[in-house]
Symmetry: C3
Subunit: 156 residues, 3 copies
């Protein structure tokens, strides 16, 4: 079963690869590592309005976790665009995940699990990255979560 078939079986679909509105690239490969830019819960490069807000204030951790999954789908779309197929991705090396947090909200790891559980569902052990989950007060356009990643891919 291909990774995209697994995604389909999970009831999930890849968004279009993000089109950077600013001065950066979606992803950049060096050797067998692909550095993926920070992604928020976008569909086809548009932040979805239900994910604008602050976790622990007007966004629940459960909703933010879905936002993290959607950020993860954008990371996958960026990887596919960079290397041609999700089947060439071996796994995730590092994930930095930021949750826009209300005072005293300390559940950032549970939110970022939304992306990590997706990666594990697709890649097993390979989906487990050395991860940093933490809070921040503000994110671009008011998004409740932003995630960047370094993935390992098959040699060309």
């Amino acid at each position: 079963m291909t990774v995209e078939e697994k995604l389909h079986n999970l009831g999930l679909a890849l968004p279009l690869p993000s089109v950077p509105a600013d001065v950066y690239r979606r992803a950049r490969r060096v050797g067998n590592l692909v550095y993926v830019a920070g992604h928020t819960p976008n569909i086809d490069s548009r932040l979805q309005p239900e994910y604008v807000g602050v976790v622990g204030r007007n966004i629940t951790p459960e909703l933010a976790k879905k936002g993290a999954q959607l950020s993860g789908l954008n990371i996958l779309a960026a990887l596919k665009a960079e290397v041609g197929s999700l089947d060439k991705v071996k796994g995730f090396v590092q994930i930095l995940g930021y949750v826009r947090s209300a005072p005293d909200f300390g559940g950032q790891p549970g939110v970022i699990n939304g992306a990590s559980e997706l990666f594990v569902a697709l890649y097993g052990e390979g989906g487990l990255a050395a991860r940093m989950a933490l809070g921040t007060n503000e994110l671009p356009e008011g998004a409740c979560v932003e995630i960047c990643a370094i993935a390992e891919v098959e040699p060309d």
Copy 2:
């Protein structure tokens, strides 16, 4: 003298390697680099309550610096678990250190020095990483500091 003997001479001991409560790995090796997950001031995977709080409000910079040292000890424990011995670690390439900061607290570098001074005591010049020290409003479980690292290790 081994690195662990140096640690002992400093009056310090390694905690047990962290057991991820969430969906990530403690460390992941790619070639001669080991990416280590974000670590807070834990002993044997439990955040120590004296390090819960906000630096500049109810945590002093001096205490937070000790918390950064303890985060650093967890990073070392993760490295030992990954490569077998601290003597196989050549040094630190990158450190990202986040300090949960009260309004107008700008002393983050001095806090993160708690980890960096430990690494330099053990590895000399090798302990000096390209470092980013900065503030954040919230961290997991309310920890006052969280640090992740990329270390360089001996080839197998």
Copy 3:
């Protein structure tokens, strides 16, 4: 035309390479990657006072963008000191950019463009990194922006 000539034509000059006041290095090379420490809007290692503050409160996004450009100039100075010449830099792989943000300020990408536009002016496509732009409540010495980077350089 050399990269430094391009800089001169833009009316810009490199500051002196930063002298770390704390326990870290300005930059560290591993293979063909150079990890550069977090840099704030300094000239010759001194944070410029006009860049102390919070974007969206007492610092405008336009001024903060100039601060990001100055952070970028410090990153270039660090790279030159590490590899000898800016002409040996091929481009930027990853940029992490943090903007000290007032409540509901969500324009972090536009601020960090101050560095990225500089890198693109010098290196074209190579200046486009996989980038993460986000907010934070506090930065060292009250700076309004801090940026770290991973650059790719020519083999020795």
